[in-house]
């Protein structure tokens, strides 16, 4: 009787849960275990939502489908402790690989090591776990800055007078600002001022600062903003001062909100450089798959950014990130962490 009840209940549950991923077929010619299929990958994100995460997860799913991989996707919703628990859970689940998307190094280092000890391959995006066995997937900050600054030199010529918004102590900002310093030396630019602040209301605070700077230095014609929140503040200041014809912004990063700002009539924001979140997702899956197949992708997997100018947006009638992904081919693919046996992700 007891046994019967259990069977019945079990059957009921199994029936309702049939939607969980089933065994998937392998890929011919792929190295083990991908030739047999049934590879499990867990994706643990620190964030809980937002456009960026959605695009990232869409990319993860596309590439995982192409590789016939079973996915377990979870979000820690900005909670450190939850992220640890989710990684521990993935270890218990006995997955083949874990993708850690963002988070804090001191929170995750030891659980990541625990996963490695359990024979699970780990890759990390945008969180430096400082472990030679964990490939770090990063967007190339240097290349982002280089792309927009080359555009600035192309537009304005050598020797222009400029300023940069910059706050020390944030690794990506430090790397981007270093490129600006190089350009200043190489192209004979004049750096009139450096300002910036990081707080709860970055755009508003930066706007106040920028107004003061521009009033004091009316000869500034280019402002380099290594973070899009800075660009928003600078644009606000330029609009309020009415000097959009004279001062131009060269920024880094992109979002739908940023695209709208660049698209505004007579917008001062001329160009930006960014990587595509969906491509980050695809590359993460490829990198962990290479590791699972025994083809270590290296400790650093760099994503090449794309330059996006106002003209590009206007020509393509691009209004959102989705438009950009659809209509701007360069934004769609990355050749980072590829192999012949890995099929391309399809939309």
């Amino acid at each position: 009787m007891k046994h019967l009840t259990r069977t019945l209940l079990g059957g009921l549950f199994a029936a309702t849960l049939m939607t969980s991923p089933s065994f998937s077929a392998g890929i011919d010619g792929a190295p083990a275990p991908f030739d047999k299929g049934d590879v499990d990958i867990a994706v643990v994100s620190f964030l809980g939502g937002g456009d960026w995460l959605q695009a990232f997860e869409a990319g993860v799913k596309r590439q995982a489908d192409a590789l016939h991989v079973n996915l377990t996707v979870s979000q820690a919703r900005n909670d450190n402790d939850t992220q640890r628990s989710l990684i521990e859970q993935a270890i218990n689940l006995g997955v083949d690989g874990i993708i850690i998307n963002n988070g804090r190094p001191e929170v995750l280092k030891d659980v990541a090591q625990k996963a490695l000890d359990a024979g699970i391959k780990v890759v990390a995006y945008d969180v430096n776990l400082d472990n030679p066995q964990i490939p770090q997937i990063e967007q190339s900050d240097k290349d982002m800055a280089r792309l927009v600054l080359e555009q600035a030199v192309k537009d304005k010529g050598d020797g222009f007078v400029g300023g940069a918004v910059y706050v020390a102590g944030f690794a990506p900002l430090d790397r981007r600002y270093a490129v600006w310093k190089d350009f200043v030396a190489k192209h004979n630019l004049t750096e009139k001022a450096t300002w910036g602040v990081v707080n709860d209301t970055v755009p508003a605070s930066v706007a106040d600062q920028t107004k003061a700077v521009l009033t004091a230095n009316p000869d500034i014609s280019v402002i380099f903003t290594p973070w899009d929140e800075f660009a928003k503040g600078v644009k606000l200041a330029i609009d309020e001062l009415g000097v959009a014809g004279k001062v131009k912004i060269y920024g880094v990063d992109i979002s739908t909100a940023d695209i709208q700002l660049m698209n505004e009539p007579d917008s001062a924001w001329q160009a930006t450089a960014a990587t595509n979140a969906a491509v980050v997702g695809e590359v993460s899956v490829r990198a962990v798959s290479l590791a699972i197949a025994g083809q270590f992708p290296g400790t650093s997997v760099l994503l090449q950014p794309t330059l996006v100018t106002r003209d590009d947006l206007a020509k393509g009638e691009i209004k959102t990130i989705e438009d950009l992904q659809e209509k701007f081919p360069a934004f769609r693919k990355s050749d980072a962490a590829t192999a012949e046996w890995i099929p391309a992700a399809t939309n």
């Binding site: 809980g48 450190n80 929170v107």
Partner: protein, 340 residues
């Protein structure tokens, strides 16, 4: 539950329905675990069950605190904020002051007790209603925890508001509180949770003091007439609740190894839910420590299983809410029809 009519049988029916109500939560628990285990065999292995217990340990400890304040007829809304502030306080003590585990832990527990004492002062002396007093304390702490670092998260190499760099680091011995496990199987937080559960269970269910706590919640006047000091009992309840919340914060800090502004945001809701689900356990229809622990574990088992089956987080919130609604319906709805 039954349609039997004759008097003899109806009393048997009543007994049956009481028995079902008493064990309803456990029956559901067994069904749930069986279902998840069938769908995903990895669910039931010991390491995963320990992970689940570890994940719920903080919520269970905070829930035990809520339970005691519920017992005296109060409600402590500040526990989540106390836990979050304790994470910050522990990080500050080690990273900025450079203290070790033996100074940090007592200091943070003392901080929790102090908050409880202030809560009790507001409630007992100034006669501010419990909900309002602890709500105000919640806001106060949410702001207070940001003042020492000017809103920054605390990690090694923190730059202080005066421009200098903090030189301390997390004491490795402190991290053991959250990250070590006994015999390589039972995580330390689970052991702490078990100890807290046993001590509080004995205190509330097996001692005169415990009976007086519940009596305060049941009928304050009668308790006073029986010769007990209601203000002292209430103060004790809030000090216990604050101390337990800071203990929860210590465990979180020892697990994550840094002090983040966002820590502990969801702890209040989860621990209150655990305490309320606890009402339904054993059909007691009152706050009880054992029920709270079962409630926390119940939610933990459910969430872990759902994550393993790839359910997105918003369905998890929904399910959490559904469990709470179900438990409350079980407690009040069925309880009342039975009393009639």
């Amino acid at each position: 539950m039954t349609t039997l009519n004759s008097e003899n049988q109806s009393s048997a029916g009543e007994r049956l329905s009481a028995a079902i109500r008493a064990s309803a939560v456990f029956i559901l628990l067994i069904v749930m675990v069986t279902g998840f285990a069938l769908a995903q065999p990895a669910y039931i292995n010991v390491t995963n069950l320990m992970s689940i217990l570890q994940a719920v340990s903080v919520v269970a400890i905070l829930g035990a605190g809520v339970t005691i304040t519920l017992a005296v007829g109060g409600f402590d809304l500040s526990i989540g904020a106390v836990a979050a502030s304790s994470v910050m306080a522990a990080s500050y003590s080690m990273i900025v002051w450079g203290l070790g585990v033996y100074e940090t832990v007592p200091l943070v527990l003392l901080f929790g007790a102090l908050v409880g004492l202030v809560n009790a002062f507001l409630i007992v002396r100034l006669r501010v209603p419990d909900l309002l007093a602890t709500l105000a304390m919640m806001f106060l702490l949410t702001g207070l925890q940001l003042i020492p670092t000017a809103g920054r998260s605390i990690s090694a190499g923190l730059i202080l508001p005066d421009g200098s760099t903090a030189t301390g680091a997390y004491d490795p011995a402190f991290l053991l509180i959250g990250r070590s496990s006994f015999f390589g199987v039972v995580p330390a937080p689970v052991v702490i949770m078990a100890l807290v559960a046993i001590v509080l269970f004995v205190l509330t269910e097996r001692t005169r003091l415990g009976r007086l706590l519940f009596a305060t919640g049941g009928n304050e006047l009668a308790t006073r007439l029986a010769g007990a000091s209601v203000p002292k009992l209430k103060t004790l309840a809030y000090v216990l609740s604050g101390t337990l919340a800071s203990l929860g914060g210590i465990i979180v800090a020892a697990r994550v190894g840094r002090g983040d502004v966002s820590s502990g945001a969801s702890l209040l809701m989860d621990s209150v839910a655990a305490a309320l689900i606890g009402f339904a356990v054993l059909g007691l229809r009152r706050p009880n420590v054992f029920g709270t622990i079962v409630g926390a574990v119940f939610v933990g088992l459910l969430l872990n299983g759902l994550t393993m089956l790839n359910a997105p987080y918003y369905t998890q919130d929904f399910v959490k809410g559904a469990v709470l609604v179900g438990a409350l319906a079980l407690t009040y709805g069925l309880g009342r029809s039975q009393a009639r």
